[in-house]
């Protein structure tokens, strides 16, 4: 579980996000993962995203986030004054009517609109309470971002992010043919600058993560991709499935190459190929 060094200082190290916690803590204060959970890794190397216990509280800046429910979890944020979070459309479940909302304009608006991405992001500022959830069964993936981290996330998978994190988007050229028929695919990119921040994603079904070594690669169903470190590269490869007769089918898979983490969801969006 915790490293011998951490033991000396009576701290529990979270196996999911590596944050150090009080010895008496039951769940990680940064990402909500149960601390007594064993680091479960499947034989092929996939680690299951921690199932966050009902009603677990997570701290970021001076605000808290409570994760409620186990079928389709709700992230309930208690924003303190000066803290803010930003989010996409269609994820707000309820809010206090006193919590101010503003819109954040993003660069590349027109390109984003063609890519099917939101080009306006809403911002809620504390103090007050606001809660988020999404439209299908799944898990909340809590990713505390330490300074200098860069994460790429599948579009629309991001639920909310704290204001310390910078939000932009990147275009993945290789996936163009599969996903949008030549219009390119955009991914959200989250970067932390000076201070740590909190990023919460929603994955459909169960979420698994795997750390790829430099040069190590794995083939993914493109619809299952959820997030990756920006150091991980992703390219599409087409695989001919011969039937022994004329024709045959083409299957497209994303080749993901390390070094870095890659996260997938088990209930995936299937993109039809032509």
């Amino acid at each position: 579980m915790s490293t011998p060094q951490a033991e000396q200082f009576e701290r529990l190290q979270c196996q999911w996000c590596q944050s150090l916690n009080e010895k008496s803590a039951l769940a990680c204060g940064s990402c909500g993962a149960p601390l007594d959970v064993r680091n479960l890794v499947s034989e092929s190397g996939w680690r299951e995203a921690p199932r966050i216990r009902d009603m677990t509280e997570i701290h970021f800046s001076s605000s808290t986030c409570q994760v409620e429910g186990e079928i389709v979890p709700v992230a309930e944020i208690n924003l303190s004054p000066g803290d803010a979070i930003f989010f996409e459309h269609h994820v707000m479940l309820w809010k206090d009517d006193t919590v101010p909302l503003t819109l954040m304009a993003l660069s590349g608006g027109l390109k984003r609109a063609f890519g099917g991405m939101p080009f306006l992001i809403s911002v809620a500022t504390g103090p007050g309470r606001i809660a988020f959830s999404r439209d299908a069964t799944g898990e909340l993936v809590v990713l505390p971002l330490h300074p200098g981290m860069e994460i790429d996330v599948r579009e629309h998978a991001f639920l909310l992010s704290s204001h310390q994190i910078q939000y932009s988007f990147v275009r993945i050229k290789g996936l163009a043919n599969i996903l949008f028929g030549g219009q390119g695919m955009y991914m959200d990119r989250f970067v932390t600058a000076g201070s740590p921040g909190l990023l919460i994603l929603h994955g459909y079904g169960n979420v698994f993560e795997r750390v790829l070594k430099a040069g190590e690669s794995i083939m993914l169903e493109p619809g299952a991709f959820l997030y990756k470190d920006s150091s991980v590269t992703m390219d599409v490869e087409f695989q001919k499935l011969g039937t022994g007769f004329f024709g045959g089918a083409t299957m497209s898979l994303a080749r993901v190459t390390g070094p870095g983490r890659v996260g997938i969801q088990s209930m995936y969006v299937h993109h039809k190929t032509e």
Partner: protein, 356 residues
């Protein structure tokens, strides 16, 4: 130390378990499951049930009184019961409230049994739960379309005509309700992962339910429906479209002479709160499950502050449902996308608005 209810490790000086919210027992092994009612006479009824508690239309008490009334539905409890016969909630479970005051639907043991009339209903499964009814002769239930999972060949199924058929057809509501009469078994489920909500209705008590969430109700529950009066109209070119964010109609179920049972199915997790008089909350319209009839609802438009010029179509960025107490409101964590939100709104029913 570990929680006697769920087995989680307890914080040294914590008063409640962070795993399940149950109070931490003070003694090393003093389970709070049953109050020490020693030697209840076998023949006589348990004393806690005998106490007359006439409480017409009273909302369930928020502070649970252990082993006398269920914290969720207010049904009187037998001292030896481990789950509530009215709603199936675990008796050991305290009502778990979030920091902001939403109560979570009480944990239900798999195979929990509910009782109504001479019949029972067992709720099976925790992911997409099934309501498995064992109907006694003379008892009946009615149910919505497409929820019947299986039945005994002998269980009689008839139709129950509803008033206002023409209007209901236009609104896409079911024209007929189907009714099953005992004796026999019949089981119901819906096609989405979620929770089954048992709402016992005391005589005179009513509850308003958003359409398509109704699963089944006992024969003595009166079914009615009304127009929500919550709508807005958008224009796109020459097309005008009217949107009903909570549906054009809402179902109202009322308890009559004897207590009845209403079963709803919500997608995802369920949260309920009791609003005080005049207390308000903004909820996603499609997340609403049910409300007490005393709770008022209307539209609320929120205009986020923009640092740049807002053009027409951003005029109503967020369409909320504002609920005003007194009474209960329940929401589900899965909601459908709302159509028309964020487009140019031409007309609407009574609404409040906020410009930041």
């Amino acid at each position: 130390m570990f929680c006697v209810n769920c087995g989680s490790r307890l914080v040294a000086d914590g008063r409640f378990c962070t795993g399940c919210g149950a109070p931490a027992a003070s003694g090393p092994s003093a389970p709070v499951v049953e109050p020490p009612v020693a030697a209840v006479p076998v023949a006589g009824p348990p004393p806690s049930v005998v106490r007359p508690v006439p409480q017409p239309a009273a909302p369930p008490a928020e502070v649970p009184v252990r082993a006398t009334r269920c914290s969720w539905c207010g049904s009187p409890l037998d001292a030896s019961a481990t789950s509530c016969p009215g709603c199936g909630g675990k008796v050991t479970e305290m009502a778990v409230a979030t920091r902001s005051g939403w109560l979570q639907l009480p944990g239900r043991k798999d195979m929990a049994k509910l009782q109504f009339g001479q019949s029972t209903c067992q709720i099976e499964g925790l992911y997409v739960p099934v309501a498995d009814m064992n109907l006694a002769a003379g008892d009946s239930v009615y149910f919505a379309h497409h929820v019947l999972l299986w039945k005994d060949p002998a269980t009689e199924v008839t139709t129950m005509p509803l008033k206002g058929a023409w209007k209901r057809m236009f609104a896409g509501m079911p024209l007929i309700m189907t009714q099953a009469a005992g004796p026999g078994h019949i089981a119901f489920s819906r096609d989405a992962p979620g929770e089954l909500i048992a709402v016992p209705l005391h005589p005179g008590q009513s509850v308003d339910v958003r359409e398509h969430l109704f699963l089944t109700a006992t024969g003595n529950v009166v079914y009615d429906w009304f127009q929500t009066g919550v709508w807005f109209r958008t224009k796109n070119g020459d097309d005008t479209e009217t949107h009903y964010p909570v549906g054009a109609f809402m179902d109202r179920f009322s308890g009559t002479g004897q207590p009845g049972l209403l079963l709803l199915h919500a997608s995802g997790n369920v949260f309920v709160r009791n609003l005080g008089p005049g207390e308000t909350m903004l909820v996603k319209p499609t997340a609403l499950i049910f409300k007490d009839p005393a709770v008022e609802m209307h539209l609320h438009f929120e205009h986020p502050q923009t640092g740049f010029m807002a053009w027409g179509s951003w005029s109503n960025r967020y369409v909320w449902l504002r609920v005003v107490g007194p009474g209960r409101v329940a929401v589900q964590s899965v909601f459908e996308h709302m159509h028309g939100e964020g487009s140019y709104i031409q007309g609407f029913s009574y609404a409040t608005e906020r410009r930041w």
